[in-house]
C-alpha cells in the first residue's frame, strides 16, 4: 500500500491479539499484490493493460469496490475518479507543467464500464488507467477491520499511514476513541480531534505529498474534472463515515471540491461528516455533521 499500517488492539489474550494483528497485516500484503499499480503482476496492472481492448473479469470484492468508486465519482460530480490514473501518471512523470492539449487527452466521460452480471470491467478507451491510490488504503483498512471482527476482536485502532484510521469499538474506560488531526501548517501540533466509535476518519491534503516541476510545487491530488492540480482552496479535508473505503475516497473529493462543495455534499449525505481546514498561518476549521 506504500504506507505503514498499524493495528492497535486491546481486550483479551495478548498472544491471540498479536497473532491476529500479524495475520491481518498478511491480508494487507495480499491486497497490495492485488491493487498496486506498481506491481506488474497485480490485478489492477492487468486490468490497466487489457481492459481497454476487452472486458476483464474482476475478483468480486474488487468489483464491488470499483462499483463503490464509480458511485462516489457520480455523487461528487467527478471530484473523485478512480479512472484518472493516466492523469496521475502524466503529472508524476512531467518535466514541465502539462499543457491543455496533453491533459485533454485524458479527460473523458464514462471511462469505465462495469458489467455486474459478469463481474467484468472494460474501459471506454484504451488510454484509461485505474489508480486506487485514493481508495485502496481505506479498502485495506476495511478488510483488516472485517478480519478482526470475524475473530471477535471488538476494540482497536487500525490505520493506514496518516490518511485513514478506523476506530473499532472503544479504548479502556471510555466510550469512543479520540483521534487527533495534525495541523497542516505546524506539523508537530494537533489542530483538532474527533471522537470516533466504529467509524473511519480519512484526511487529504497536499502538505506532505506534492509534485515538484521546475522548482514549483503542485498538490499531488489531481482534480479529475480539470486534469490540473486540485485548487479547492483547502489546506486539509477530512471525511468521517462508517466505511473506511468511502471515507478515503471522500476526503480526496472534499479536498478537490473545497468548502462549499463539501458542505453541499454533506447536506445531501447526512451519513457523511467532514472537517475542512482553510486559510494560511491561522487556519480556519469547519466541522460538518461531525
Amino acid at each position: 500500500m506504500g504506507c505503514e499500517f498499524e493495528v492497535i488492539l486491546w481486550g483479551g489474550d495478548a498472544d491471540y491479539l498479536l497473532a491476529a494483528a500479524e495475520e491481518a497485516l498478511d491480508e494487507v500484503r495480499l491486497l497490495e499484490e492485488q491493487l498496486s499499480v506498481f506491481i506488474p503482476t497485480s490485478e489492477i496492472s492487468f486490468i490497466n493493460a487489457v481492459a481497454g481492448s476487452r472486458p476483464v473479469r474482476v475478483e468480486p470484492r474488487l468489483f464491488r469496490l470499483l462499483q463503490t468508486a464509480t458511485r462516489i465519482s457520480a455523487e461528487t460530480g467527478g471530484a473523485f475518479d478512480v479512472a484518472s490514473g493516466a492523469l496521475v501518471d502524466l503529472w508524476n512523470a512531467a518535466e514541465h507543467v502539462p499543457s491543455d492539449e496533453e491533459i485533454s487527452e485524458h479527460l473523458r466521460d464514462s471511462n469505465v464500464i462495469l458489467d455486474e452480471e459478469k463481474s467484468t470491467i472494460r474501459f471506454a478507451n484504451p488510454s484509461v488507467k485505474l489508480n486506487l491510490g485514493a481508495i485502496g488504503k481505506g479498502y485495506a483498512v476495511a478488510r483488516v477491520v472485517e478480519f478482526l471482527r470475524d475473530r471477535e476482536i471488538a476494540n482497536g485502532l487500525v490505520s493506514a499511514g496518516s490518511s485513514t484510521v478506523y476506530a473499532l469499538g472503544a479504548p479502556p474506560d471510555d466510550d469512543s476513541w479520540t483521534v487527533g488531526i495534525k495541523d497542516p501548517v505546524r506539523r508537530d501540533e494537533r489542530i483538532t480531534s474527533v471522537r470516533l466509535r466504529d467509524r473511519a476518519l480519512s484526511t487529504s491534503g497536499s502538505h506532505e505529498r506534492f509534485v515538484e516541476i521546475g522548482g514549483e510545487r503542485f498538490s499531488h491530488i489531481i482534480d479529475p474534472r480539470t486534469g490540473r492540480s486540485a485548487s479547492g482552496g483547502l489546506l486539509l479535508a477530512c471525511a468521517v463515515t462508517e466505511d473506511p473505503s468511502v471515507s478515503d475516497a471522500l476526503s480526496t473529493a472534499f479536498f478537490v471540491m473545497g468548502r462549499e462543495g463539501t458542505k453541499s455534499y454533506c447536506e445531501s449525505h447526512p451519513e457523511a461528516g467532514a472537517i475542512v481546514v482553510s486559510g494560511g498561518e491561522s487556519p480556519e476549521i469547519e466541522r460538518i455533521n461531525v
Binding site: T41, F46, P55, R57, E117, R151, E152
Partner: protein
C-alpha cells in the same frame, strides 16, 4: 453431519445469467469459456485457499459453486466473495454432481483422503503442495488419478511461472554450463503461529506445528524449492543428510524451527537447503551454480552472473545488466531475452507490452484449461511425488541424525 447449506442468489439468477451469456459477444476464448463454465468447489479457505479463491474468481468461464471449511470465520470470509453454497463437511460437497473440479488447500495430512475422495466422486483436483503427508499417501493419490482418469495437479506454482520456465530453457542451453551446486534458501523471522480464539482450535489453526498434521518447513517451504531443483536438474536425489531442531520457538511446537539439509544428486551435484524462522536476511532464492555461471532467481527477478573464465553468451552483449551486491548480472526477462537471442544484433527497440499475471493465477488458469479441454496437467502427480519424497526423507534424515539413501521406488507411482 451439519451442513450450513447457504442457499444463494446464484440459484435464482441461473436463468437470467444464462440468457445474458448467450447474448454476449466477446473474444472467442471468453465466449467459449462462458458457454461451458467449469464449476469448481473449494475445500479449505484459510489464508492460502482464500487467496486461491480470489484468483480463481478472476478467470473467465469459472463458476465457484461450493466452499467448504470447518472454521466458521474462514467460511464466512470466503462466502463474502462469492455467491456459493457453504459446507462444513467436504463429503456433502462431493456428493454434488454439478461440480467438475475441486481445489484443496487444507492441512497437509488431509490432502490424500480429500483428493482421493474427490477423484473417486468424479472430480478433477488441484491440490496444494506439498502433495501428501507421507510417500504412501502421495502414491495413493497418484494411483487414484490414474485409475479414475481424473486430473490431479499439485500446487507447485513455479512450474507455471514464465520466468522459471525461461530460466530452465537457458540452463538446458548451457548458459551456466555444468551445474555442480545448488543453494536453496527460504528464511523468515516469525513464529508461524495463527491467532487461536479458543484452545480447542489450536491444532486446527496451527496444524503446521504438529507432526501428525504437518511435515514442517520441509513441506511448507522446502517442497517448492526442491521441486525446482528436481525440475532444473532433470533428476531426483541419491542421498540426504541434515540438521533440524527446535531451538528458538519453544512454544509447544513439534516440528523443527530451523532446517539445514544437503541432498546429493547424480554426478555429485550437491543441493543445500536452509529454512530459518529467526532471521530473514537471506529471504528466499534459488541459486544454481555452474562452471560457466550462476543463475539466481529471487524476489520475482532472475540474473545470470557469468564466471570470469567463461566465454561471453552470444546474446548477452545486448541484454540489460545491473549490479547486484557489487557484481554485474545479466537480467533475465521471459519476454525480452528470447527476442534478443533471435535478433542477434542491435537496432531494434525492445518492448515488453505483454500483460503479466502472478504464477498462482497462471497455475489456476492452466488447471481450468486442462479440465475444460481434457489435457494433461503440467505439475502432475509424479512431479508432486518426487518433490514430496525428496522432502520427507530429508525430514527423516534430520530426525535420525544420519545420511539416508533414496530408493528408486520412492519416486515411482
Amino acid at each position: 453431519m451439519t451442513d450450513m447449506e447457504r442457499l444463494t442468489r446464484r440459484d435464482f439468477l441461473k436463468g437470467s445469467a444464462a440468457a445474458v451469456t448467450a447474448a454476449s459477444v466477446g473474444l472467442l476464448s471468453n465466449a467459449v469459456a462462458e458457454e461451458k463454465p467449469v464449476r469448481c468447489g473449494f475445500i479449505g479457505v484459510g489464508s492460502e485457499g482464500h487467496m486461491l479463491l480470489g484468483k480463481t474468481l478472476r478467470i473467465p468461464g469459472v463458476d465457484v459453486v461450493a466452499i467448504c471449511d470447518i472454521y466458521p470465520p474462514h467460511l464466512k470470509r470466503s462466502l463474502r466473495s462469492v455467491l456459493a453454497r457453504g459446507y462444513e463437511d467436504y463429503r456433502w460437497m462431493l456428493e454434488r454432481k454439478d461440480i467438475d473440479a475441486v481445489i484443496i488447500a487444507t492441512p497437509l495430512y488431509l490432502h490424500a483422503p480429500m483428493a482421493i475422495d474427490a477423484m473417486q466422486a468424479g472430480k478433477h483436483v488441484l491440490c496444494e503442495k506439498m502433495m501428501a503427508h507421507s510417500i504412501d499417501d502421495a502414491k495413493a493419490m497418484a494411483r487414484t488419478a490414474r485409475d479414475t482418469k481424473k486430473l490431479l495437479q499439485i500446487g507447485h506454482q513455479r512450474r507455471y511461472n514464465s520466468l522459471y520456465n525461461h530460466a530452465y530453457k537457458l540452463i538446458k542451453e548451457g548458459a551456466i554450463g555444468k551445474i555442480t551446486h545448488v543453494r536453496l534458501m527460504w528464511n523468515r523471522n516469525g513464529s508461524w503461529r495463527r491467532a487461536v480464539p479458543d484452545a480447542k482450535y489450536e491444532r486446527l489453526l496451527n496444524w503446521r506445528m504438529y507432526r501428525d498434521y504437518s511435515q514442517g518447513l520441509m513441506a511448507e517451504l522446502g517442497s517448492h524449492l526442491f521441486h525446482v531443483a528436481n525440475w532444473y536438474l532433470d533428476s531426483i536425489p541419491v542421498s540426504v543428510m541434515g540438521y533440524g531442531s527446535i531451538d528458538y520457538w519453544k512454544d509447544g511446537r513439534e516440528v523443527f524451527d530451523n532446517v539445514n539439509v544437503i541432498a546429493e544428486y547424480p554426478g555429485g551435484v550437491k543441493v543445500y537447503f536452509q529454512s530459518l524462522t529467526t532471521n530473514q536476511y537471506d529471504n528466499c532464492y534459488e541459486q544454481f551454480m555452474g562452471d560457466k555461471g550462476t543463475l539466481i532467481i529471487e524476489g520475482g527477478g532472475a540474473h545470470i552472473f557469468p564466471e570470469p573464465k567463461a566465454e561471453q553468451l552470444t546474446w548477452s552483449a545486448m541484454a540489460h545488466k545491473e549490479k547486484v551486491d557489487g557484481k554485474e548480472g545479466i537480467v533475465l526477462d521471459a519476454d525480452v531475452t528470447p527476442r534478443l537471442k533471435q535478433q542477434g544484433g542491435p537496432g531494434e527497440t525492445i518492448t515488453t507490452g505483454v500483460p503479466k499475471k502472478d504464477d498462482y493465477s497462471t497455475e489456476l488458469e492452466s488447471f481450468i484449461a486442462c479440465v475444460r479441454e481434457g489435457k494433461a496437467v503440467q505439475c502432475d502427480p509424479l512431479e508432486g511425488l518426487r518433490s514430496a519424497a525428496t522432502c520427507l526423507l530429508a525430514n527423516q534424515a534430520m530426525e535420525q541424525g544420519k545420511k539416508l539413501i533414496y530408493k528408486p521406488e520412492m519416486f515411482n507411482i
